[in-house]
């Protein structure tokens, strides 16, 4: 029987169903772990990351957690999930079985993307909403001031409105998630550890490069300090543009390279 060798919707559905049947328990445990993990992060963050403005209309101080920062911290849990994609490649025998499953490379790649990236994002938004409300309720009795309510709309509007450069943070977060998703195809064994190490390595190299430029162009700056020229293009800080550029490169190139790594995988 001849079928489309690149993508067949029914075959893709069967592959997804097979993945859920084989790994369903693992996903369930991870989801439960994420629910608890995000709750703990939220509690910790609500207590530590907040502003206390005075509200004239209420005549009192308001306890205002920085929800956007808490949201980005909660993302760490989802990064761990994204980094556990392509679980078969942690073991040579499992890799063989996975590569021999009758589905195209694209379907296999897309199935992992749907589960670990799309599923991760959905999980993050749902769990964060549940956990942040729970965390507010948990912390409220111990605070003497009203805690500002949480809403996604307010959070994102405030986040972007506050500083246009914040938009770059969304790009960077997406880039990190996509990089961690692809990491198993780049590194094989201990992929997540190697991936995180290489991420820190990259940040360190970038920091060294900026220090070097600082020493060359602004020699009076103290060692290991980066002089950042305070210049904005369309309201976006130059440093954010640089980081955004790197993030965009990762977003654009990680997925295609990972796909070709999968296609080229041999054992």
């Amino acid at each position: 029987m001849k079928t489309n060798n690149f993508f067949d919707f029914r075959r893709f559905g069967r592959l997804l169903a097979a993945d859920f049947r084989l790994n369903g328990k693992r996903y369930l445990f991870f989801a439960l772990g994420a629910l608890v993990g995000i709750y703990l992060i939220d509690i910790f963050s609500i207590i530590n990351i907040y502003n206390m403005p005075f509200d004239d209309s209420l005549g009192t101080y308001i306890y205002m957690p920085v929800y956007s920062a808490i949201f980005f911290l909660s993302m760490l849990i989802i990064y761990a999930f994204a980094g556990s994609s392509f679980p078969a490649f942690s073991d040579k025998n499992e890799s063989a079985s996975y590569l021999l499953l009758p589905a195209s490379h694209f379907e296999k790649f897309l199935a992992q993307f749907v589960i670990y990236i799309a599923g991760g994002i959905v999980m993050l938004f749902i769990f964060f909403w549940i956990d942040i409300h729970l965390a507010r309720l948990t912390v409220a009795p111990f605070k003497n001031f009203p805690i500002t309510p949480f809403s996604y709309k307010e959070m994102f509007i405030d986040f972007i409105k506050e500083d246009k450069s914040n938009f770059v943070l969304i790009l960077i977060s997406t880039a990190v998630g996509i990089f961690l998703f692809s990491v198993r195809l780049f590194f094989g064994k201990y992929a997540l550890t190697k991936g995180v190490a290489s991420l820190f390595g990259f940040i360190f190299l970038l920091f060294c490069l900026l220090c070097l430029f600082t020493q060359i162009f602004y020699p009076k700056t103290a060692n290991w300090e980066v002089y950042v020229f305070d210049y904005r293009i369309n309201g976006i800080h130059v440093m954010s543009i640089l980081m955004g550029f790197f993030a965009l490169v990762v977003i654009l190139f990680s997925l295609p390279i990972a796909y070709y790594k999968l296609k080229d995988k041999h054992l």
């Binding site: 029987m1 001849k2 079928t3 060798n5 067949d8 075959r11 069967r14 592959l15 169903a17 097979a18 049947r21 084989l22 790994n23 328990k25 073991d91 025998n93 499992e94 063989a96 079985s97 590569l99 021999l100 499953l101 009758p102 589905a103 195209s104 490379h105 379907e107 041999h266 054992l267």
Partner: protein
């Protein structure tokens, strides 16, 4: 079905495992791929399955190039590797998960095979023995009705009754459109099962014959004294005197002593 032309392959900087290797196997057979440890039997199966890529030459299976691993190709091959991992779920759950990916999977056949292998569908794969897991894989492989089955050391880990059960089941389950390639160094486990013998030695195909042709050409006998035997090609000492292999000049036929044949080939006597 399988056509390998001028295959070159080596691991890293090691000496080439295959250099200009050729092999052709057609459907409707159970072929035994024999060779010493490290001869490249498992590597060859991996190359045919598309898990390894040739560094030279060409492999085609059912008209497909294995290294492309297209879904149509993959839905027609099933490989049981020597070492394997199975998920920590029940036989039933694993079958339900994977069977829809194989278009010609026969659920009834699977149930019958599980019964034959004395496996319970509710058994959890991580709680049964290695041999039982292997039997599950064999049952699944046969139920897929894939045109090409690649079995790497399938009898490793099977107890004596299971080995004979494996032979019976495989012989009964394989159709004329299928090709089964069994790679093994335990030649006695498959001697009554295979109808084609392929021996790999020193990176090349040292011997390829059907069992029918082997029986026609050679006689395998035992005698207290070799002096009485004529046309002896190869002999080995045994408790009864000597086991030997000689040219068949008449119409007589003997059972093939695969071990003797293999030793004759690998000692570079028969193929030169």
């Amino acid at each position: 079905m399988i056509k390998i032309e001028n295959l070159d392959f080596k691991y890293g900087k090691n000496k080439p495992l295959f250099a200009g290797f050729n092999l052709e196997l057609g459907e409707g057979h159970i072929a035994g791929l024999l060779g010493k440890n490290g001869a490249g039997k498992s590597t060859l199966l991996r190359l045919v399955a598309g898990l390894l890529f040739p560094q030279g030459g060409q492999i085609t299976v059912n008209g497909f190039t294995p290294k492309e691993r297209t879904p149509d190709f993959l839905s027609e091959i099933y490989m049981i590797p020597e070492e394997f991992s199975l998920p920590s779920i029940s036989i039933e759950a694993c079958t339900k998960a994977l069977s829809p990916l194989y278009p010609r999977f026969d659920r009834q056949k699977m149930n019958a095979l599980l019964q034959e292998f004395e496996l319970n569908a509710n058994d959890r794969l991580h709680r049964i023995s290695h041999g039982q897991r292997k039997k599950f894989l064999i049952a699944f492989a046969l139920a897929t009705n894939c045109r090409l089955l690649l079995l790497d050391e399938p009898t490793n880990g099977l107890d004596i009754p299971s080995k004979s059960q494996f032979r019976k089941t495989l012989a009964a389950s394989v159709s004329d459109e299928q090709l089964v390639v069994i790679s093994t160094h335990q030649v006695r486990d498959v001697d009554t099962l295979i109808d084609t013998v392929a021996v790999i030695n020193d990176g090349r195909l040292a011997f390829l014959e059907s069992t029918e042709a082997i029986s026609r050409k050679y006689l395998f006998e035992t005698a207290p004294d070799l002096a009485t035997a004529e046309n002896v090609i190869y002999s080995e000492k045994s408790i009864a005197g000597a086991r030997y292999m000689r040219l068949n000049r008449g119409n007589a036929e003997t059972a093939i002593d695969l071990e003797l044949l293999f030793n004759a080939v690998t000692k570079l006597i028969l193929n030169e």
